[in-house]
Symmetry: C2
Subunit: 240 residues, 2 copies
DNA sequence: CGAGATTATGACAGTCACTGACAGTTGACA
DNA sequence: TGTCAACTGTCAGTGACTGTCATAATCTCG
């Protein structure tokens, strides 16, 4: 029930790009319907409280069919997250090589958020995705899954960073270390944002920026004294 | 089948400290037996491949009884991990107030590992615990659970750090940020150690130290320039 | 257009983690 | 020794998955 298959159906005769057959379109429609129904049910009545049977029933397919589209309940929750993540990785890849790694990560993140809305809207309403994110943060099972996925993303990003800098991830620890530190802070902001009231992307951006700014000062020797020294403050951000 | 209840039973008449009744001892014995059997089965045939029925059968109790001792399969896997973590938190609490936060965390970690063996050995053989840790790292479900638990630990540690520094976690982002960065790197080392060959605590210590040493350089502006400062070399543990 | 090859789907059976309810045992304690 | 409370086993039930097989819907090609 979203833009994708509508556009696809409409553009079928015209566009030279893609014109999937009826079968494909039907499948896509079923998948979208399942996804939409699942997220809607999860966010309204809770993840654990929603059974797969319910989701299947809402779309009027058998339970077995649900499992043909999604390996498990969890997977539906992260379908959109997947897109968001590749969007971010792509943004990292596009950063000019001269930027310092931490800086590149930061900018890539903020950049990718500029166009986040459109990416999400391709599949589901942004607002539903935001609710889903909060659901993830507040549901132990989902949070666990999310963290594991994040650690995989970390590895991928570390490789991208290593490539940028012409290093070997297995030889030089720095790519993984920056990414680990960066990700640690990102997860932190994700948690805080999820716990807060304001569910806008704008709010998330503000929280993130201010926390990233704290990496330098936080790692500094002495918190009481004003931080000195250049390398101490990775990327020279002292704010707050 | 370990030291705890043996000691308890033996010391029963003498020690003024504790002399649990028969009932208590029996319970403890059952729990230990279940824990031991579970870990042994998990590490030999795999977590997913081991059913709760098998574990219960190995100890000759009903499945229902297993679930009276452990809320779920997962929980058995983290029983020892729990102790290790509180041991670490305790170590952080004991660090002198004048140490810089990141430094205190690092020292607490290494300190706590000095006595890690004894702590673990109270419940199960260290070697079994090491195998368990590798199992966690290599089993998606368990890894996810582990990461979630770690994030809870993070929050706890952040509060300890905040207290040390006389700050409010909800006002000053720095406690959470250091801990986030630190934890990010720790998780990284955990992963690398788990993937490696050497399963000794010593090896883990080496990997950890060298990676922690890289936080500063990794966050620095420019990786191409030689980073100054001692923390550069990281004791040459670059392999895999 | 129609027959046969593909492929999605439904119906059914089965496993496994987990939970609630109830009854039978067993250690605790007067 | 007998009563009470805590443990435990048995049984039944739910919900997430998985394998299998028959059916029905597309697709392909003559």
């Amino acid at each position: 029930m979203r833009t994708r298959q509508q556009a696809a159906e409409a553009a079928e005769p015209a566009g030279a790009a893609a014109r999937p057959g009826l079968r494909e379109r039907k499948k896509q429609r079923t998948r979208d319907a399942l996804l939409h129904a699942a997220l809607e049910l999860f966010t309204t009545q809770g993840y654990e409280q929603t059974t797969v049977d319910e989701i299947a029933a809402a779309v009027d397919v058998s339970q077995r069919t649900f499992f043909r589209y999604f390996a498990n309940k969890e997977e539906t929750t992260f379908a959109v997250q997947d897109m968001v993540e590749s969007h971010f990785v792509a943004a990292v890849r596009e950063r000019p090589a001269h930027e310092a790694p931490l800086d590149a990560l930061r900018r890539a993140l903020l950049d990718s958020w500029d166009t986040l809305g459109e990416v999400i809207e391709e599949v589901i309403p942004v607002e539903l995705h935001m609710r889903t994110y909060q659901l993830i943060e507040s549901t132990p099972t989902l949070l666990a899954a999310h963290l594991r996925r994040s650690s995989e993303l970390e590895e991928e990003v570390a490789r991208v960073i290593a490539e940028r800098e012409g290093l070997d991830v297995d030889t030089d620890p720095r790519p993984r270390v920056v990414v680990a530190a960066f990700s640690g802070v990102m997860r932190l902001t994700g948690r805080l944002w999820g716990a807060g009231e304001d569910t806008s992307i704008e709010s998330m951006r503000r929280v993130t920026e201010s926390y990233l700014d704290q990496i330098g000062p936080a790692l500094a020797e002495d918190w009481n004294r004003r931080c000195r020294g250049p390398e101490r403050d990775g990327s020279g951000v002292h704010a707050l």
